[in-house]
Amino acid sequence: MFRSALRASTSLSFAVRRTAAAPRATALSPGLQFARRYLSNDVRQKIQQAVQSTPVVVFMKGTPDLPQCGFSRAVVQVLDLHGVPPEKMKTFNVLEDSELRSSIKEFSDWPTVPQVYINGEFVGGCDIILSMHQSGELENLLEKADVIPKIPESESQTQSSASSS
């Protein structure tokens, strides 16, 4: 199913002029020291549009078919497992775009890749996605976000009792 996600995988083309002269340090959290504080409004806007363009957006290394990092692979596999349809998911390969690679860390205030957005909201990296997957939170979130269809109550109950035994 990720063939088509791959086709939909877009690269944000950033022709970016960083506004190095005026780092807007004031509003940023201390955690941002890992990213340079030069993210321009232009780039910020592009990423903002990107994360809102589809219900599920993944910034990763490589592509769903050819992930270049085990953490990225895990995230993509978990989303696949939940049946996230390709038309509702877009992936961005940060290895193809060094500007995006550094910008996304500052944008999300998160130092590592992969990063998952659902309905425009940052959800987390690999550890968080995996633990949400295990706890069932991810499924709930994807259902609430209308990414995957809700399973009728009775059916999901049988499922959970079957898997917990």
Partner: protein, 106 residues
């Protein structure tokens, strides 16, 4: 405190992670595992000549400081404390963050 692997030769990055997280979280348990060797051949590490040997870590930490915070907030606390390490080549950090109660019930 549970500093089991402190005896095995911890590198400067690992030592510094341990010190900073201990100060920040006063953890009941803190386990740091260096997974860097598993990632030596990744493109990003090859570009750095195999990496410094201290690029990928897993951290399991149990602390009262996580009480009332969701996972995202807990991870952000740790990222903030380790911003220098990230700036200086720390590449991946896998986190398990629990309160003492959560650790007990798990």
């Amino acid at each position: 405190m549970a500093t089991k692997d402190a005896a095995t030769k911890a590198g400067p990055v690992e030592t510094s992670i341990r010190e900073k997280l201990t100060t920040l979280l006063q953890p009941a348990e803190l386990t740091i595992t260096n997974d860097s060797w598993q990632h030596r051949h990744h493109a990003a590490m090859r570009a750095q000549g195999g990496g410094s040997g201290e690029t990928h870590f897993s951290v399991q930490v149990v602390s009262d400081a996580f009480r009332g915070k969701n996972t995202l907030q807990r991870h952000r606390m740790i990222h903030s404390a380790l911003s220098d390490e990230f700036a200086q080549g720390l590449h991946a950090l896998s986190l398990k963050t629990k309160t003492p109660e959560e650790a007990r019930s798990a």
